[in-house]
């Protein structure tokens, strides 16, 4: 019991500590692939440090929502992180049915961010909020259809149990997992506002989705938003990497190795995708998201009718 809690706490610390590093890695990969030297890998830490020192100014028209929203954002993401199994360790919060909580706790974070964006009263932020809400509508089924289909097959409803039921030795299960991981990858791309759904680097108001919502935040608020977005990216990365753990043989060395190579490979894939793909048109994004949902539905269909 004690070990479990300890492992869970260590997991959270790993997630919270390494998430900016992951973002830095992605940026570095992208820079190298486009032929630049790029910022150092630790740049996100410096950024956070810099923002942290700045003064917090809120818009005069804003209400208490704007002040509590960044904090709620971080707290919900920490809770979500606490539900995620890192490696073979049991997470801090784990009960059957926790995939629903996981999905909606992320939904809560988004909800408050949208509220805060509208609270400021700027038309820009309102537009961003509207876009975020629209695309969230399409993104949510992806999670339920992919994770839901695995949970349907394995018969478990807790993230920890679901991942532990995966056997890569079975070929058809293996292909199934690979397809699920494509779907999760597409979800990650949209949730973490990367290309081709959103361009994290652009500051052109016409094209922004996520970035536009935090335009008016500064200081500690911006720090909280930024940090939680790093955590979100890492959460999805772990969700993706966890598919490939050899859960049947619990060797720690192998686990650590897979964690490191998996993260590196994922950063590489993200980097490559962002290099070769341009941001798609706003009207094509729902289609992109629907495609991921379709993959989830296909998985569900195929597993329902195989027996």
């Amino acid at each position: 019991m004690g070990i479990d809690i300890l492992q869970g706490i260590i997991s959270i610390i790993i997630i919270l500590g390494l998430s900016p590093l992951f973002a830095g890695l992605v940026n570095k990969q992208k820079a190298i692939l486009t032929g630049r030297i790029g910022a150092p890998i630790l740049q996100p830490y410096y950024d956070l440090q810099k923002i942290f020192k700045k003064e917090t100014i809120n818009a005069t028209s804003s209400s208490f929502i704007s002040r509590i929203s960044p904090l709620i954002n971080l707290v919900t993401l920490v809770i979500a992180a606490a539900m995620l199994p890192v490696g073979f360790w049991k997470p801090l919060i784990s009960f059957s049915g926790d995939i629903i909580l996981f999905a909606y706790i992320l939904g809560l974070a988004r909800f408050f961010q949208i509220l805060a964006a509208m609270d400021i009263g700027s038309s820009f932020e309102g537009m961003g909020a509207a876009r975020e809400a629209t695309f969230a509508l399409f993104a949510e089924p992806i999670f339920f259809f992919t994770i839901g289909s695995i949970s349907f097959i394995s018969g478990f409803t807790s993230l920890f149990d679901i991942y532990h039921s995966i056997e890569l030795t079975n070929i058809s299960y293996g292909v199934f997992i690979i397809i699920c991981s494509i779907s999760v990858f597409m979800l990650a791309v949209s949730e973490c506002s990367r290309m081709p759904v959103d361009d994290p680097n652009t500051h052109l108001e016409l094209t922004m989705i996520h970035e536009v919502m935090i335009l008016d935040n500064s200081g500690i608020d911006l720090f909280l938003y930024q940090y939680s977005s790093y955590i979100k990216l890492f959460i999805y990365a772990i969700l993706e990497i966890s598919f490939f753990y050899p859960f049947s043989q619990q060797s720690y060395l192998l686990g650590i190795l897979i964690f490191i190579t998996g993260s590196a490979a994922l950063t590489f894939v993200l980097g490559v995708v962002e290099t070769i793909i341009s941001r798609s048109k706003m009207k094509n994004i729902p289609q992109y998201l629907l495609f991921a949902t379709a993959i989830g539905i296909l998985n569900l269909l195929i597993y329902t009718f195989t027996k």
Binding site: A294, T304, F305
Partner: protein, 210 residues
């Protein structure tokens, strides 16, 4: 293993529905050709015969090399623009396809209770047939119609393996030859159409009416 290939086949169908480039259609045709040949090769491995290897090789040759190359040649010769020009909103077709697929899967699983058959290749093959028809219905470019026809043919092939119909080699080869000649003739016709009508879209074909 057949199920795995069918899953990949369905994925290629989804891709072909969302993509808006003509070249992507040709790539999908190649991928489907490879999948079908792998399917055949697996069957040959189970009960090996030198005679049985002829069909997969011919299939690979025709569906992966000859036909896609020919279509690519037609595309580059006619300087067809890369957009596919849908007649309905791109966004609408994907939900339609998803609903159709769900229906097909459910219906075929109900039907499989009476007859012994592999539900997944059966339903995937049938979905491919329907998707081929959707492509013919909802796209303007004639070359895309040819691709839709070939996707339909591929679906029939997958469907054939699902119902475990073993046609004689001679006839299978004849079918392949026919399909190839159809595509060849269609290519020549397209060539003529583009030089006669200065375009290659369905809207140019409206002279014949009652």
């Amino acid at each position: 293993m057949e199920n795995v290939l069918s899953i990949l086949f369905c994925l290629s169908l989804f891709y072909v529905i969302v993509t808006s480039r003509v070249k992507a259609y040709v790539t999908v045709l190649q991928i489907q050709g490879v999948l079908l040949s792998v399917l055949l090769i697996i069957q040959v491995i189970h009960n090996f015969s030198v005679y049985g290897i002829i069909l997969p090789i011919t299939l690979l040759l025709v569906k992966v090399i000859l036909i896609p190359r020919y279509i690519n040649k037609v595309i580059s010769e006619l300087e067809i623009k890369r957009r596919i020009e849908p007649t309905i909103q791109q966004m609408i077709l994907l939900p339609i396809v998803i609903v159709t697929m769900i229906t097909i899967f459910i219906v075929s699983s109900i039907l499989s209770k009476n007859t012994a058959m592999d539900v997944i290749p059966f339903a995937s093959g049938f979905s491919s047939i329907v998707v081929g028809i959707y492509i013919i219905m909802f796209r303007k470019k004639l070359i895309v119609h040819v691709c839709g026809f070939l996707i339909l043919e591929n679906g029939i092939f997958l469907f054939g393996t699902a119902v475990a119909s073993e046609l004689p080699m001679l006839i299978e080869l004849g079918v392949l030859l026919d399909v190839f000649v159809v595509v060849f003739l269609m290519g020549i016709t397209l060539n003529r159409i583009s030089s006669t009508f200065k375009g290659f879209e369905v809207s140019h074909l409206g002279r014949l009416k009652d």
